[in-house]
């Protein structure tokens, strides 16, 4: 269950990072937007495992201590934040620029346009990408075993080492991930379909 806990916390943190970064890019905040794009490039072009190794083994050497749990959440948030940023950004970009203009011509302010016109549309558009990210991040939690977490993978590896009942423990592992990921996947496509019918779709 530790996997799930880290997964959920990490994903919530990624959503928060994603929203903040998207806002920075949308409002073209000077300097901060460059920091955001550098962050997105770095985080998207390096593997989670390396990020975790760096946070867990590397950072303590220069005086930044972490525990495996915090390290897992931080690593997942670092990786997921950039993926969420990309998902939200593409959603916002998909909303036609004339929509902004027509809202502006009605006298809406920048924040009002974002809140009442752009955001609701971008949310629906980016939902599939968002859901794919959630599943992707949950899958990535399987990587945590590498940094000595009492995690699903780790338990299985332990069992392999202890009893050499590989088949059983591998089977359990598969079942466990299916138990976690299948409902998420099914729920995702269900909500997606609902949104398409109830919302506007094409």
């Amino acid at each position: 269950m530790l996997t799930l806990q880290i997964g959920v916390l990490g994903i919530l943190a990624s959503i928060a990072i994603g929203i903040i970064c998207t806002m920075i890019q949308y409002f073209k905040v000077p300097i901060a937007r460059h920091v955001v794009s550098v962050y997105v490039e770095i985080s998207r072009n390096t593997p989670l495992l390396i990020q975790l190794f760096f946070i867990y083994y590397g950072l303590p050497k220069i005086g930044i201590r972490t525990n495996p749990y915090a390290c897992g959440v931080a690593g997942l948030a670092f990786l997921g934040g950039s993926y969420m940023t990309e998902a939200f950004r593409s959603g916002i970009e998909a909303v036609d620029r004339v929509q902004t203009e027509s809202a502006a011509s009605l006298g809406l302010s920048g924040l009002q346009i974002l809140r009442y016109v752009i955001f609701p549309q971008a949310l629906t558009i980016s939902f599939p990408a968002f859901m794919a990210n959630v599943i992707f991040l949950l899958k990535e939690t399987s990587v945590f075993s590498a940094i000595s977490l009492m995690d699903l993978m780790f338990t299985a590896k332990d069992l392999i080492g202890l009893y050499y009942q590989t088949t059983e423990s591998l089977f359990l592992l598969v079942v466990f991930y299916l138990l976690i990921l299948l409902p998420v996947s099914v729920l995702g496509s269900f909500i997606e379909r609902r949104m398409r019918y109830a919302g506007f779709g094409s």
Partner: protein, 260 residues
């Protein structure tokens, strides 16, 4: 200016004054020092070949474009992108776009109510009553709960007009509002605009519908290469264009075939 005043048919108080407006995109000058005074209750139709800057001109009037020279004054207050009161000024200038731009995630009523309730902070019930009355005028009261995707192009465009009207703007801008419509839907939209003209709304209309322009305009502006090339009452412009360029332009709307 004195010469222009003489050609004007209606003479309310000056409402919108454009003075030597210049707009450039990088090196390309799109509007080259345009001056124009719009009086209260006046209907001005802007025509011209594509690329002459008509749409850009309208967009400048709503500060959707930044301008490189001159100024635009509404009741003496400057319209520009750096004006602190920009959103208040925009409320006084309504705009309707070629591509309707209804908000797809809101139904017809919410599309209309969004700006009056959020921007002007008016009571929802009060605006709703007004919106429904206006929808009834154009025969769309049954569509109040529909979403934009369920409407035809002509219906969407009429809703977009109502949406702009509910902000009680002092000037309405129409940017080729029938250009994306099927021919049989053009009429229903133009009829709504005609009715607004009869009610004395001040309007600037960019259109390619010459018949309509002739019927509705108090004054026709012929824009060519970023400047006003010719202006006058519609009968004069359409029947006796003064410039060669305007004659050429008007000829593109007439057809003839040599039959032996």
């Amino acid at each position: 200016m004195a010469e222009k005043e003489m050609t004007e048919v209606k003479k309310g108080a000056p409402l919108l004054v454009v003075d030597h407006l210049t707009k450039r995109f990088a090196d390309l000058t799109v509007l080259d020092g345009i001056s124009l005074t719009v009086h209260e209750g006046e209907v001005i139709v802007i025509v011209g070949p594509s690329g002459c800057g008509k749409s850009t001109f309208l967009r400048c009037l709503n500060a959707l474009e930044d301008i490189q020279g001159g100024e635009i004054l509404l009741h003496g207050e400057r319209i520009s992108q750096n004006n602190k009161n920009l959103t208040e000024l925009r409320q006084k200038v309504g705009m309707v776009f070629q591509s309707y731009e209804l908000f797809p995630h809101l139904n017809v009523l919410d599309n209309i109510l969004l700006a009056p309730t959020r921007v002007q902070k008016r009571k929802r019930e009060e605006v709703k009553e007004e919106a429904l009355a206006l929808l009834a005028r154009i025969g769309l009261e049954s569509k109040a709960e529909s979403f934009p995707r369920q409407l035809s192009g002509g219906q969407k465009q009429r809703v977009a007009i109502i949406r702009a009207l509910c902000m009680h703007p002092e000037v309405m801008l129409f940017d080729e509002v029938t250009a994306a419509l099927d021919p049989e839907m053009v009429r229903e939209v133009l009829d709504v605009i005609l009715e607004l003209a009869n009610q004395g709304k001040t309007m600037l209309i960019v259109t390619h519908e010459m018949q309509f322009a002739r019927a509705i305009a108090d004054r026709v502006i012929f824009l060519n290469e970023g400047d006003i090339c010719e202006e006058g009452p519609p009968e004069e412009f359409f029947d006796h264009p003064k410039t060669e360029r305007a004659r050429q332009f008007l000829q593109t709307f007439t057809f003839s075939r040599k039959k032996s």
